[in-house]
Symmetry: C2
Subunit: 123 residues, 2 copies
DNA sequence: CTTGCCTCTGACGTCAGCGTCAGGTTTTAG
DNA sequence: CTAAAACCTGACGCTGACGTCAGAGGCAAG
């Protein structure tokens, strides 16, 4: 398929797809006239890239790790890298959970005091 | 205390503290000569700001929500905002968990196949 | 054949959360 | 009193993941 279709099927902009190629995250064949051609598997690939971006990984890390995730180019060093990224994600999750709980507490207190007295005193 | 001490006590740079003030996240009294003066409570405040930044909230949202979180300025609209942010954090947590699990699967497969055959085939 | 949409390659713009430098004042230590 | 350290206000720089515009070529339909 061409780049426009891949964009609509993944919900990612054309510009972003070209950017992914620039960052060596997503290869493409070229038609004789120079237009990009993608196989169907590119849809999954793009979604994987999105997921890793959403996890906070920068392009460079994704580029390093994709060969392992997709093809299984597993050197001990890459496996170590993967573990490190997973641990970073884990600690980010911890941060988010504590932030969410804090907001939860505030929300509970605020709604309770809203119903009674128009004002709450926290902390 | 002055800005330098607040910086060392919170682990946040002086520049960042001035930026927080610029974004209306952190107020300060001024000495006659114009230097910023902070109460002890500013330490907690800064750590709260950090926590909300870590949760992915932009300055503007934090500025809107801080009055509620700190003083309990609880209007129904603010409470709704808080709930919305909490829900966004929740879905971010979901994204991170699935990304982490995916990396976990890859790591497990890669280490197993590394021990046996030098290569793995995933997906 | 031409109209209209898709695609191409640069290349500059944007936004957030600061870093950093300049040039000047204030506070503190000796 | 003086030198060093801390502070002040601009203001420009930086990074990443794109948005956007310019100018030009490609391609199916009527």
């Amino acid at each position: 398929m061409r780049i426009g279709e891949l964009a609509t099927r993944t919900g990612v902009s054309v510009r972003a797809l070209r950017y992914y190629e620039e960052q060596n995250l997503l290869a493409s064949e070229r038609s004789p006239s120079g237009q990009r051609q993608y196989p169907d598997s590119a849809v999954d690939r793009v979604q994987l890239i999105q997921q890793l971006y959403a996890a906070g990984l920068p392009s460079k890390s994704i580029a390093d790790l994709l060969p392992c995730v997709v093809n299984g180019e597993a050197t001990p060093e890459l496996i170590h890298r993967l573990s490190a990224e997973r641990d970073r994600i884990d600690s980010r999750i911890g941060d988010l959970v504590s932030a969410r709980d804090r907001l939860g507490t505030v929300i509970a207190a605020a709604t309770a005091n809203w119903r009674t007295g128009q004002h709450c005193r926290l902390q």
